[in-house]
Amino acid sequence: MIITPKELNDQKKDLLIVDIRPSNQRNETPLNGINSIVCENGEVSNIKEKKVLVCQYGIVTEGLIIEDDLQNTFSLLGGAEAWNEFRKEQKDLSQWSRQTVLPEIGIEGQKKILNAKISIVGMGGLGCPASQSLLVAGIGSLHLIDNDTVSLSNLHRQPLFSPEDIDNKKVIVAKKKLSKLNPEVSIKISDTFLDEKNAYSLLSNSDVIIDATDNIKSRQLIDKISKELNIPMIYGGLYRFEGQVSVFNVDGSPGYSELFPDLPSAGDACADAGVLGALPGIIGNIQALETLKLIVGIEPILIGKILIYDGMNHTAKTIRL
């Protein structure tokens, strides 16, 4: 059984808190504001009272309860790290305990994610998976920009939409569906296509812009605004079984215009060239991954590089720009 820091705070008088961590962890991260007893792992099963086991990140205790079939026992989700953060900020981050346990993320990284403002231009094949992954990762606010409506031919690669959504505005449907995944995230929608007149005002309040569009002119416009405002752009593009991803314009790093100067010609878009439904999920999620890495400050990242993923042969090539 799991108990979150917030739940424990509400009912701690009725529970025995058992800290099973080794002494070095207890000394480095003492449990704040709660009385606990210390117990080695092997002895925990002898304690018959209703209890909460605490380890550093809430993972060891979950395993212990299952392995030893412990009754009347809760595991504190997120462990001592999440508890102390809750005591300090009155904010329960235990929902993201499987992320915060990563040394590259930690509580501080999760806070950066929770404070980030992301704009996604295009709610099609790339925008759907990118928005879902960012939302559940804890992104603070999302701004979805698209003027398109859902059509039957979208459904095979845009899993936010269902047959009953056909002819409805994508951003309105997406907000409704995404809100259920994480009701606490602020989701702003702009029911418009990005153009020269509105781009600056739509994108200026972003920490990162995700390019999930399906045409080169929009990519160039996002690149231009991204450079002007010094807001990084996470580029993604698709062709049949292949996808491209790059992180553009981070403090002067190469952008789309350095990769493809002038007005390049690409031939067909998705609708004409075709795309296998699962591919946008992969590429959109790589865009979300790079966004999270950028926000937290994790390297290596696709700055100054373009990733070309081939879903037919499962090869990935990274080319330096």
Binding site: G122, G124, G125, L126, G127, D211, A212, T213, D214, N215, I216, G236, G237, L238, Y239, R240, E242, G243, Q244, L259, F260, P261, D262, P264, S265, A266, G267, D268, A269, C270, A273, V275, P280, I306, I308, D310, N313, K317, T318, I319, R320, L321
Partner: protein, 81 residues
């Protein structure tokens, strides 16, 4: 003569029907010489496609002399999203 390996992506792969080609070129051949050869092999299918070139996983914006053993990738822009 020099031997170079061509990595084909997106539209280039479909136009040539290959993921990878190995070509022998005259000594002193450049990336733009190779692009002409690739375009001619595509029988017009790449005529309206812009191509960017990477040599040994490094993007090259200038015409560059190729060396024996180089790996050359042609990167087209893709529209889909």
């Amino acid at each position: 003569m020099i031997k170079v390996t061509i990595k084909c992506f997106s539209q280039v792969k479909y136009a040539l029907g290959e993921n990878e080609l190995v070509l022998e070129l005259e000594n002193g051949s450049t990336s733009s010489n190779l692009e002409k050869i690739i375009r001619s092999k595509a029988n017009g299918q790449l005529d309206d496609i812009s191509l960017r070139i990477a040599i040994n996983q490094h993007y090259e914006s200038e015409d560059t002399e190729l060396k024996d053993g180089d790996e050359v990738a042609f990167i087209p822009p893709v529209q889909g999203g």
